[in-house]
């Protein structure tokens, strides 16, 4: 029975585990960056005065938000990369890394878009009307009045999305790129599914997610617009 509380596999595989979590971090950061860019483009489309762009943005968000991430990543890895032979790099792990990043950020961007859009919607109409009334141009009112308030109110939702993204990188296991959850699966196969291994990996993810949560919570409170 003492083998059930055996922490030695964690020590033995320590470098592999660290490499796994390093992959998780790289996936998270790169996808977060791309998702933020794509999400901003999408939200610009969804609030634009052009009906065609609005419809296209809505279409994208509704499709991606209602498809399971597992399916999105499988489509990237098995479909676009393996079946259609669109490779992003000659090196196989690098190729799968980029496809995983693209899948994650395409999926996350739809949530970023919705968060940003609800941020813009929290700015009262009176603010923009006041800005126009004192003679600010469109860009000025956007830059000086609307966007600063909108950005502050989306800090907390964006933090939640970043945390969710960190946890979602585990699904990259279906897309053939090795990160922390695949390392855990491998260790379960090698050493058995013991509690210490599970707790070790759970702690690893909590080290990534909890400080992010506290940081964004603190930032959101600090930057909150008092209305």
């Amino acid at each position: 029975m003492e083998s059930l509380l055996d922490f030695s596999p964690l020590a033995q595989e320590f470098t592999t585990i660290l490499t796994g979590f390093w992959s998780t971090i790289r996936l998270t950061l790169m996808s977060a960056l791309l998702a933020l860019i794509l999400g901003t483009v999408l939200v610009a489309m969804r609030v634009s005065p052009t009906p065609v762009l609005r419809a296209a943005g809505t279409f994208y968000v509704n499709i991606l938000r209602n498809t399971p991430l597992t399916l999105v990543l499988l489509l990237c890895a098995l479909g676009l990369s393996d079946t259609l032979q669109y490779t992003l790099s000659g090196d196989s792990p690098t190729n799968y890394y980029w496809w995983a990043v693209l899948g994650l950020s395409a999926y996350t961007a739809s949530f970023v878009c919705e968060a940003l859009r609800s941020g813009i919607n929290t700015v009262p109409n009176g603010q923009a009307e006041a800005a126009r009334a004192i003679g600010l141009t469109f860009t000025q009112s956007l830059r000086l009045v609307v966007l600063p308030q909108a950005f502050r109110s989306v800090i907390a939702p964006l933090g939640s999305i970043l945390i969710a993204l960190t946890k979602n990188t585990t699904i990259v296991i279906v897309a053939g790129y090795i990160e922390a959850s695949s390392v855990m699966k491998q260790m379960f196969d090698d050493y058995g599914g013991t509690l210490p291994i599970f707790m070790g990996f759970a702690a690893g993810y909590m080290v990534l997610t909890l400080p992010t949560g506290f940081f964004f919570g603190w930032l959101a409170k600090r930057m909150a617009v008092s209305r």
Partner: protein
């Protein structure tokens, strides 16, 4: 939209002209993108009839897609019910006056919300087998349900807590002053009002839960994704068409659920039966919903 938007003034003649030009340009760009995508697929021969043919056959639907949908819904419904129970127990636990209930309940909820769902599913499958010395084996269905229950239950616990807290304090004070006890205030005053306020958030969490059943793929639980993206393509060699059809099925189911959520939200906004403010949906990002 442009008249009510915070961003734009009502357009004048010049702005209307500019908007029309923008519409034209963006339509051309979007059509160009669509053309490139479709041409890319066509060049790789993805529109050949024999790849799409299987989806016109009744056998593929009755033998694979419908059983897949049933298995997905089974896992989703069972975990949804269990997650609601888990959520009520731990949500109320976190509101308890006794620290020895409140603190452990909070720790459990925060723990399951902070770690990825996939880790839970893996451990639910491998853990019991190892700990029992390989005498117990957890079926894939149970592993999926356990993982989904613990994770979504914890998210729902937070929703419940927020729902109860959103009822103004005067309501429970009024209840106490009528001579109700804690249980009575909770049962007769707080819960009925909070339920209305929480409904939209609960339903949108159900969409997340339904999407997350797709994780069954990883541990070979035979649900919609497994049938549709493993079995059909291995029979017909049509991965891309299958992926498109399967995602349409998921989108249809989820849009139907979201529609219900929106209807509920609108109804509870109008409702005068509750004093509670509607609880915002947790940021629903697939396997991750909003941890704080």
């Amino acid at each position: 939209m442009s008249t009510t938007s915070v961003l734009f003034d009502a357009p004048g003649p010049r702005a209307r002209l500019r908007n029309n030009i923008l519409t034209l340009v963006s339509a051309v760009v979007l059509l160009a993108i669509a053309y490139v995508v479709i041409k890319g697929l066509a060049d790789k021969g993805q529109f050949e009839g024999k790849l799409w043919q299987p989806f016109l056959e009744a056998q593929v639907w009755t033998g694979q897609i419908i059983p897949g949908i049933v298995a997905t819904l089974e896992a989703a419904v069972v975990s949804a019910v269990l997650a609601l129970v888990f959520g009520v127990v731990f949500g109320l636990g976190r509101l308890s006056d006794h620290a020895w209930i409140r603190v452990p309940a909070g720790a459990v909820v925060e723990f399951f919300r902070a770690i990825p769902l996939l880790l839970l599913i893996f451990f639910a499958q491998a853990g019991p087998a190892t700990i029992s010395g390989y005498t117990v084996s957890v079926p894939a269905f149970a592993a999926v349900v356990i993982g989904l229950t613990l994770y979504n239950g914890s998210v729902l616990a937070e929703v419940f807590r927020a729902g109860i807290l959103s009822v103004p304090r005067g309501q429970s004070e009024a209840g106490y002053s009528l001579g109700l006890r804690k249980g009575g205030v909770m049962r007769l005053i707080l819960l009925p009002q909070a339920t209305t306020a929480m409904m939209p958030a609960i339903v949108s969490q159900m969409v997340v839960l339904l999407k997350d059943t797709a994780l069954g793929w990883v541990i070979a639980y035979e649900e919609l994704l497994n049938y549709g993206l493993k079995q059909i393509p291995s029979n017909f060699g049509n991965l891309i068409p299958s992926a498109i059809v399967i995602s349409l099925v998921y989108i249809a189911i989820n849009l139907a659920l979201s529609y219900v959520a929106n209807r509920l939200e609108r109804r509870s906004r109008r409702s005068s039966k509750t004093t509670a403010t509607v609880v915002g949906a947790p940021t629903a990002v697939g396997v991750g919903g909003g941890a704080t």
